[in-house]
């Protein structure tokens, strides 16, 4: 592997210069059987010494022991001593939509205006982003490119972290509409105390009413067979007819409860709450209405000074215990998303099992995003999108992703940062 990367490094540096990403993986077209690895299927099942058979970019078979006798024509590749995991799925992220955080010209995730249900992150997703290869290096193979800002930021798409262009990289286009639920509080500045203060948002009910109107109008309009030229309203059609997700980002428990009631009233088939939740009232609202939740990274400060020190670390176990469908996003800067496996792993010391932690960022995220028919676990018929590591990928102490495959094609795990490291290791004579 190291040789390959050096080779690529040489090729890249000679012909293309440093600024380019490595070439996109190609599927060999052969049937391949991978043996000898500890396989984490992603649904809780593990094979200590399993086999994984891949054909035409899909999983043909998976099981315990060496299955090569069953597939005599398959090319045999040994991953002895290694671990195989489903590719990690990173929901609600601006990776690929921005390059340098502070440089506005590189930012393409926040359109002007409050209601932008019509805009699509899909076409802004830049497969040539130099950040993308650094993220997939730790096993993240899918990202939900998601717009931000305003009341309705727009529509997301689920993208692979490898591809020649967005058309090539997309797994699910326009998978859902995003809604930033209004906040019950607004922040203001008190000039006498010189402190910012939170106040009740007097416009809360008004904004919620506007949302009701907007959804009602969209429903009315969708009854008409004719093509209508209101882009904002027709963008909701997929949500209203139960095909697309409605992702709702909500800040507090009361807002989450309101948002769930809203979805019920408008008969939204696939609502998803994105945020944190703490009260039993809000948790049971999620549970009773079968609404899944995507929670933020464990790596955040407790919500309040009085909150438990490890509140964020303990939340996943708390929600699993309540029987919710829980996924996890990396809510901090996109370039840090390579830490998603670790922030899931961090919940393990706080009540979650390793299998549950893994499921949060694989199968559960896939179910929540409606892509579990294709990815999320290593089951027969699903796409061959998986990673190989020398150690536990949830623990930075042991994680070392050596190979990654997307739809059966091996991904080149080189990236700009590795090349820079090589360059200076070479300068200093470090081996």
């Amino acid at each position: 592997m190291k040789k390959i990367s050096i080779l690529i490094y040489l090729i890249v540096s000679t012909f293309l210069g440093f600024a380019q990403n490595p070439t996109v993986g190609k599927s060999s077209g052969e049937t391949i059987i991978y043996t000898g690895a500890h396989i984490f299927v992603g649904n809780g099942v593990e094979y200590n010494n399993g086999s994984l058979v891949i054909e035409k970019g899909k999983i043909l078979a998976i099981g315990d022991g060496d299955l090569s006798s069953k597939y005599p024509n398959a090319k045999k590749v040994s991953f002895a001593g290694k671990q195989i995991y489903p590719g990690i799925i990173s929901p609600a992220n601006s990776l690929g939509l921005t390059e340098i955080q502070a440089v506005r010209t590189t930012s393409d995730f926040n359109e002007i205006g409050e209601i932008n249900s019509n805009v699509r992150a899909l076409i802004a997703y830049n497969t040539d982003s130099e950040v993308i290869p650094t993220v997939r290096s730790n096993g993240i193979l899918l990202t939900q490119a998601t717009p931000e800002g305003g009341l309705i930021p727009g529509r997301s798409s689920v993208m692979y972290l490898d591809g020649w262009n967005w058309e090539d990289a997309v797994l699910k286009a326009d998978d859902g509409v995003w809604l930033n639920w209004p906040s019950k509080v607004t922040n203001s500045f008190n000039r006498t105390t010189f402190e910012r203060e939170s106040k009740k948002n007097e416009n809360y009910n008004k904004t919620v009413d506007e949302l009701h109107t907007f959804f009602n109008q969209a429903l009315a309009l969708s009854q008409d067979d004719k093509k209508y030229d209101n882009l904002k309203l027709t963008a909701l059609n997929g949500v209203l007819n139960g095909v697309d997700r409605l992702y709702i980002q909500a800040g507090s428990d009361k807002e989450i409860i309101d948002a769930i009631a809203f979805c019920k009233e408008h008969a939204i088939k696939f609502p998803v709450i994105v945020g944190e939740v703490s009260s039993d009232l809000a948790i049971s609202a999620l549970k009773e209405n079968n609404v899944p939740i995507i929670i933020p990274s464990t790596h955040r400060l407790p919500s309040r000074g009085d909150s438990e020190v490890w509140e964020a670390y303990k939340l996943p176990a708390k929600l699993f215990a309540k029987g919710l469908l829980v996924g996890m996003q990396y809510n901090d800067s996109y370039w840090r998303t390579r830490n998603l496996p670790f922030v899931a792993g961090n919940a393990v010391g706080h009540g979650l099992t390793k299998a549950q932690a893994l499921s949060m960022i694989t199968l559960n995220n896939a179910k929540i995003l409606g892509i579990d028919n294709f990815v999320g676990s290593l089951e027969v018929g699903k796409q061959a999108s998986y990673i190989v590591s020398e150690g536990d990928i949830l623990d930075m102490r042991t994680s070392k992703v050596t190979n990654a495959f997307i739809r059966g094609a091996e991904v080149n795990l080189d990236d700009k940062q590795k090349r820079l490291a090589e360059k200076y290791n070479d300068k200093y004579g470090i081996k």
């Binding site: 390059e99 340098i100 955080q101 502070a102 440089v103 950040v131 509080v185 922040n187 500045f189 000039r191 010189f194 402190e195 910012r196 203060e197 939170s198 106040k199 009740k200 428990d253 009361k254 703490s278 009260s279 009232l281 790596h299 955040r300 400060l301 407790p302 309040r304 000074g305 009085d306 438990e308 020190v309 490890w310 800067s333 996109y334 370039w335 840090r336 390579r338 830490n339 670790f342 792993g345 961090n346 393990v348 010391g349 706080h350 949830l394 623990d395 930075m396 102490r397 042991t398 994680s399 070392k400 940062q417 590795k418 820079l420 490291a421 200076y424 290791n425 200093y428 470090i430």
Partner: protein, 1013 residues
């Protein structure tokens, strides 16, 4: 003899006082009135300690002439019988801005559009917040509306000053009389006033609390220099005034007990004992306040009761706020109990009518009544040395007298009259006779009527018999009553009555318009109801919660204490040549005493370390927690000190203890090329701010390069120099050139054998810090990203003769590691940050490993309150990225930062004799699955996982207890306010700006713009 003397004094004062009126021309004939008044047979409260029963007070004009019993008085005296009444000295507020002009803030400098010059024209200080030349007597105007509010609650005089700026100028003693300024102004230049708040100054500097401290310190040094000869080089009225004011009592405005300690530290440097205006939270750290040994001006405003009926809303109320609501009213009693000299000021009380209610609350919480009286009269007067004029009832003093019907702090008491400078103000009408009681009446259809309610606003019920009654509407105008009522279905009956002694006589018109006469006679035995109220007053004494240290959630009821103990059978990460060993560690007297296998444990507390890992505490080289300020805004801000603004109450201290951190370098931010001086603290949760700081810790200072100092991310072109990396180099060159000259100037002065005729150089705090760097006494930690400028600073340091200790962030350290190695410069970096701005686009996570392999002493730091609680995980990433060994990885957050902070003699490894700063982990400390079970500092357990559950439960119980109390309060009808979430202190302070908890330069700019709107 004595009498003669006092008469003489009286004469002089009278003459002086009359002087003001004397000079005024009269339009008409002279109208001088007899001005002797005698108050007879009252209970005269001379002050809190002395009472004269059946006492007499004689006043003449605006002065008290005589106090005593049964003395002769001039024939022209107007005599008033005060039997049964109480006379008190008029209250004195020494922290007032009564009669001061309103302060209007003009738009000033923002972050990207700074204002460098003072908005005040004239020969004054360079900085607008330094205005000791302001004199209250010159700008004072009588404001009868405000005066009336204060008269109503018993005040007769205030010491007033303009509450604006850091050095605020002088106060004046004025009475609350409604006459002319000439009469009302009693004394000029009573005290000088200070604060940490720059107020209406439009100048950008200082933006931070620590900048305010530095500016004031510099002003004192400048004033000293000025009077010692500096006047020869510039004329400066502000410095002249500041020097003159040194003779006056100085009052410092603090918003909290932390401010009080901060002010005291400044005072000590300049030999000033500040009188401290407190934020009302002295009770939180009363022993530290007592140590200050000064007079406290305490507010009488208390936190409002919170509406906690909705449990989801109530979630956002913090334990600190709940406890403060409960305990703040006890502050005065706590001050008294600790024998701290204090006075009470109503200045913070927005609704002045709450004054007596609040005093009564304090008394209920065991504030002694006489102490309360002293705190409103003689104590404030003594504190500001005006006790010869106001604050007690003595011969020759200003005739400010307060007359009440009951003891003044009795809930039933009413102030009847407030005499100010011999001028009577009626507060509650003394002449109004009481009408309350049950009367028999000849009103047709009724046998009796009952009058209840307030004397001025009585309410009347008419009884047909004992069980059937009619409620009447009643108004009283002096001795006339107007009564209307309806009986049955008939129309309205109208009565008019005149009150005489025990009788009401009146006319009436019935529903048909027919006239009649009526009367009512008081039943003598009916005046009993008032007494009933007394018995209800004796409610059980209120029980308050316990003080916790710090005064926030997870605070300790008792400060944790040092123990001798043994940790047995753990995997010990020694960070020494032995590497990891299986064995025991003994801790004695805060130090590591022994390491080995099967050590004797007799007499020691035993902690089982089986299957656990014992390591050093984590040292965070780059932290901004526990601070009130992060950045000052001048390109060279070396004068500011993080040590001045350490916040012992920051919950992040506890959170990071729970992440295994024991020591943090609290750095200035990166807004300036040369930033402020670091504070290096141990996270001793519960100790006061000064005790967190490691004693005699090595001196450090923050430097910065790149986008932040050049304001690279400004939406417009910024106006502060420098705005390019070219300019950054020049700022450093200039600063050190000045420092070298300054050092020489002092050396010449100090070396001169004869100093007469020489002016000592001006102490320049900015350059003092730079000279320390030149002398090798202060170490540089420099915020840095790209190799070009890192190289520049190294070259500059070489040429100007100073050393760089640490490059922090140093994300391109891997490009210059050889150069750093050659100069023995340390590198303190992030594990995997990049791409957040242009200058980090070539940052790589392999940086730490490459620097380490080249031989640079390398640390991983947090610069972030969240990341700091899992620095062990960040260290582990150096194994993932670059393949460091476990031992090497672990040292990046322990031994290596100890070395770069020059603390490795004491910290950083498990070795006999070093500080017992240890963490016992549940797992391999580099694993994501590990968490600290015990965090120990100096042999004291500050975090204990085993006690965490109990702590959380205690927290819930305590919160619920106070919430129940609040609910009871609401159902009693006490007005409440809806709780609102207070944004985290970490990211709200106007000065907590950069790279910290997500608060960016942009947010700061917006913040300052709001501030100045």
């Amino acid at each position: 003899m004595r009498k003669n003397l006092s008469l003489l004094i009286l004469f002089i004062i009278c003459k002086f006082s009359a002087f003001s009126q004397e000079t005024f021309h009269e339009n008409g004939v002279k109208d001088k009135r007899p001005d002797y008044y005698l108050f007879k047979n009252a209970t005269v409260h001379v002050d809190g300690k002395t009472t004269i029963n059946e006492g007499w007070v004689l006043i003449k004009g605006d002065k008290i002439e005589k106090v005593g019993k049964n003395f002769d008085y001039p024939k022209t005296t107007q005599v008033m019988d005060m039997s049964g009444k109480h006379i008190y000295p008029g209250f004195v507020d020494i922290y007032s801005d009564y009669g001061m002009p309103e302060i209007k803030r003009k738009p000033g400098g923002g972050y990207y559009n700074m204002e460098f010059k003072s908005g005040k024209e004239g020969a004054f200080a360079w900085n607008q917040a330094i205005k000791p030349e302001v004199k209250a007597d010159e700008i004072f105007k009588v404001d009868d509306k405000s005066a009336a509010e204060l008269r109503k609650i018993g005040f007769g005089a205030t010491v007033t000053h303009q509450k604006d700026g850091i050095a605020r100028g002088n106060s004046a003693l004025v009475s609350l009389n409604n006459t002319t300024e000439n009469e009302v102004l009693l004394k000029s230049n009573v005290s000088s006033h200070f604060s940490f708040d720059k107020g209406s100054s439009i100048q950008s500097y200082p933006v931070s609390l620590m900048g305010s401290v530095a500016l004031l310190r510099q002003a004192y040094y400048d004033a000293k220099w000025y009077t010692n000869g500096g006047i020869g080089s510039e004329r400066n009225l502000s410095l002249e005034a500041l020097a003159q004011n040194m003779a006056l009592p100085a009052v410092f405005h603090g918003k909290s007990f932390l401010d009080a300690q901060r002010a005291d530290k400044i005072g000590k440097e300049f030999g000033i004992k500040y009188i401290l205006k407190s934020g009302g939270d002295d009770y939180k750290r009363i022993s530290e306040i007592k140590e200050l040994n000064t007079h406290i001006i305490a507010p009488i405003s208390f936190p409002k009761a919170l509406d906690v009926e909705d449990p989801l809303d109530a979630e956002i109320v913090s334990l600190t706020d709940l406890k403060n609501w409960e305990m703040a009213p006890s502050n005065l009693a706590v001050l008294a109990k600790n024998n701290i000299s204090f006075s009470i000021s109503p200045s913070d009380l927005v609704d002045k009518s709450q004054f007596f209610g609040n005093i009564q609350k304090a008394i209920k919480l065991r504030l002694d009544k006489n102490t309360a009286l002293d705190a409103l009269t003689s104590s404030p007067a003594k504190a500001l040395k005006i006790d010869n004029l106001v604050g007690s009832i003595k011969n020759g003093m200003i005739a400010n007298l307060l007359i009440s019907n009951e003891e003044i702090f009795d809930p039933k008491a009413k102030i009847l009259e407030n005499w100010i400078q011999g001028n009577k103000f009626v507060i509650n009408d003394l002449s109004l006779s009481s009408v309350k009681g049950t009367y028999s009446t000849d009103l047709s259809g009724f046998s009796k009527l009952e009058i209840t309610g307030e004397n001025e606003k009585p309410s009347i019920e008419l009884f047909e018999n004992d069980s059937t009654k009619v409620k009447a509407t009643t108004t009283r105008d002096r001795n006339f009553l107007t009564i209307n009522y309806k009986k049955g279905n008939a129309g309205l009956v109208r009565l008019s009555g005149y009150i005489t002694d025990k009788k009401i006589n009146g006319d009436g018109k019935d529903a048909d318009g027919k006239s009649f006469v009526w009367n009512a006679t008081l039943n003598e035995d009916s005046k009993t109801e008032d007494k009933k109220a007394d018995s209800t007053k004796k409610s059980s004494e209120e029980k308050l919660g316990e003080i916790i240290y710090p005064f926030t959630a997870f605070g300790n009821k008792e400060k944790p204490s040092k123990e001798d103990f043994i940790i047995k059978n753990a995997t010990i990460w020694t960070n020494e040549a032995d590497g990891n060993i299986q064995g025991d560690v003994i801790i004695k007297n805060g130090k590591i005493d022994a390491i080995g296998k099967n050590l004797a444990s007799a007499g020691l507390k035993v902690i089982d370390g089986t299957n656990k890992h014992l390591t050093n505490g984590i040292i965070d080289e780059h932290s901004h927690i526990a601070l009130f300020s992060i950045n000052e805004v001048e390109s060279v801000s070396s004068e500011v000190r993080q040590e001045d603004v350490v916040n012992s109450e920051d919950i992040n201290i506890y959170r990071q203890l729970a992440g295994g951190v024991t020591t943090s370098q609290l750095l200035h931010g990166s807004a300036d090329c040369i930033g402020g001086q670091s504070a290096i603290i141990k996270l001793k949760w519960g100790e006061s701010a000064d005790k967190l700081i490691i004693p005699n810790s090595p001196k450090f200072i923050k430097f910065a390069l790149g986008e932040n100092v050049k304001r690279g991310n400004s939406p417009q072109v910024p106006n502060r120099y420098p705005s390019t990396r070219m300019g950054v180099e020049q700022v450093f060159t200039d600063a050190f050139t000045r420092a070298i000259a300054y050092k020489k100037e002092w050396a010449t002065y100090n070396g001169a054998k004869v100093k007469t005729g020489l002016t000592a150089p001006r102490t320049d705090l900015e350059l003092v810090a730079l000279v320390e760097i030149l002398d090798g006494k202060r170490n540089i930690t420099c915020h840095s990203y790209v190799q070009s400028e890192i190289n520049m600073l190294m070259k500059l340091a070489d040429s100007l003769g100073f050393k760089i200790n640490t490059f922090t962030h140093i994300l391109e350290g891997y490009k210059v590691a050889d150069k750093m190695k050659a100069r023995n410069i340390n590198g303190s970096t992030f594990s995997d940050w990049w791409a957040y701005k242009m200058e980090v686009k070539e940052a790589i996570p392999y940086n730490a490993a490459i620097m380490t392999k080249v031989g640079v002493n390398t640390a991983i730091n947090s610069d972030d309150a969240e990341m700091a609680r899992r620095l062990n995980q960040e260290a582990a990433k150096t194994m993932l990225y670059g393949g460091l060994s476990e031992a090497e990885a672990w040292k990046t957050v322990t031994l290596n930062p100890a070395k770069m902070l020059h603390l490795d003699e004491r910290l950083g490894s498990i070795k006999k004799g070093k500080d017992a700063d240890l963490v016992l982990w549940t797992d391999n400390p580099l694993s994501v699955y590990a968490k600290p079970e015990k965090t120990i500092i100096d042999g004291t357990i500050y975090f204990d996982l085993d006690k965490e559950a109990a702590k959380i439960e205690d927290l819930e119980i305590e919160k619920n207890r106070i919430i129940q109390k609040l609910l009871a309060e609401k159902s009693k009808g006490t007005p409440t306010v809806k709780p609102t979430a207070r944004p985290r202190r970490d990211n709200i302070h106007c000065d907590a700006i950069l790279e910290y908890d997500g608060v960016s330069v942009e947010q700061l700019d917006q913040f300052l713009e709001n501030l100045n709107k």
